[in-house]
Symmetry: C2
Subunit: 295 residues, 2 copies
Amino acid sequence: MEVRDLRALLAVVRCGSFTVAARQLGFTQSAVSQQVASLEAELGQLLVERRPVRPTAAGRRLAEHAAQVLLRLDVASSELARFRQRPGAVKVALSPLASPQLLAVALRSVRSQSPDLKVSVKSVVATEAINLLASGAVDAALVDGITGPSEPLHLSGTGLLTSRWVAQAPLVVALQRGHPLAARPEISLEVLADAPWLVAPALLEGGATRRHQGASWKEPVLYEGADLGTLLKLVGAGLGAALLPDWAVEGDDSVTGAPLSGARLVHRTELLTLRTDGAGQNPVIEAVLALSRRV
Amino acid sequence: MEVRDLRALLAVVRCGSFTVAARQLGFTQSAVSQQVASLEAELGQLLVERRPVRPTAAGRRLAEHAAQVLLRLDVASSELARFRQRPGAVKVALSPLASPQLLAVALRSVRSQSPDLKVSVKSVVATEAINLLASGAVDAALVDGITGPSEPLHLSGTGLLTSRWVAQAPLVVALQRGHPLAARPEISLEVLADAPWLVAPALLEGGATRRHQGASWKEPVLYEGADLGTLLKLVGAGLGAALLPDWAVEGDDSVTGAPLSGARLVHRTELLTLRTDGAGQNPVIEAVLALSRRV
DNA sequence: CGTGATTACGGTTGACGTAATCATA
DNA sequence: TATGATTACGTCAACCGTAATCACG
């Protein structure tokens, strides 16, 4: 089981083609074919069907393992690179609803203390943050999501990274102002079962909510963007209800937020970093943590 | 980053010697030296100090990653091997206090339904079970431990394996019969802070208890064996108190179990298996799960 | 037939082992 | 000085690319 072969398998499974996988990897089609064949020989079974190129059950499973192995190798090499050189610049990834206030205040305090430090912030979808950390493109990531009050956010690559809880906010059901349900002091998800529903996976991963809503729920309207203002306008226009952290609905007059009852869910943002194990910590991380402790 | 090199690094770190690492791996000393050197060149930093051979901070961290990567590769190859051949025999690992009753009943029912199936059971320390599963030496493992009522057992290799909750029992404080504290209806851990304490890591991993007992606790007496009878005799002889599942103290007349209060902890056993994703399930696993659902 | 995967084959690379060298307890 | 890691170097395996072949749409 060579790393190279696993990388080839993963690329082939993802691309659905030896040719384009080879292009991606910088090999010839022939080489990739041999690499996959070598895996198949070693394991004694077919991993991808050819013409059309489609993974077998075994191949699909091995590809999952391969993805995790390669991710960990990336994380390892990023971590080790960080052992070498102390950071002169700090890059932070930020998912759309990840308490930007917190980061803003932290950055201000960092700027005042060490003005020569280069700081850059990059906005990303939550699930992308792990890859950025793994590849070393960012030093830390503030990501957010919906979970139970004492559950961690479960992101795919967790365990490799350290995640620290940084902020937590109650969830509200965002409704068009004047909506009949908005009068209630609290709303349970069951009440909304038949209401139209807006889902914005790029803005806020609602993994936990999927589990809470039964099969009886309507197919939600999908908003593929990551812009909060647009989503609020859609809600305000009566297209549907959305689940958001309470502070997110403050800005828009056409939308009201009704507290959620029943479903024990919260909005949380966590700070993800590579495990650097002491030794020369990142000033931005320190500042964010100091703030979150005070809040 | 080659798998071979990572394996070499890990062996060197574990053995504290290039020579014996090489013997373990079936290489010459020279080869291992070159493999580690190759890693060091690639990462641009020293991973192990020589004379004496000791990992640097970076090396230690990389070795941790390496261990996880190699474990996952083992799991992958075991899983894939299982895709090939349907099992004619079933091997189960069992940690010392992992509800043996459950397995016994399950095995009886399996024997009656398919008498031609070879079944073997192997007793192991809980932490060893993962390696056995990964190497393919066993098909399933019943492991137990102490955690919170809704927390999973956190074992190092989890995430690679599927773990299913199979049984749960209240924890009791095992005390010498006639012990002054035994008269109480319930005992909190705080009350026992100054009492002598018996810890048996091979018998029952008390990971969670470590967190619950403050620094003020006495250094516990260590019992290195994995034999419940012996531990109970030690308790009965007044050597100290021990934390055990309630059914474990039934057998011995010199010991009583007092229910635990305050600390929200339980004893749980979980069934660990490779992810086989449907397709030809293991009859023993099915039987154990069927039983646990009934209980 | 044409696109795309496999197989055949040669060149080059690089990994391991032997043996000599070096360093440290 | 002896044990044990590194370095030098030759050999051999294997990996990749080119090119021919094969198979499926």
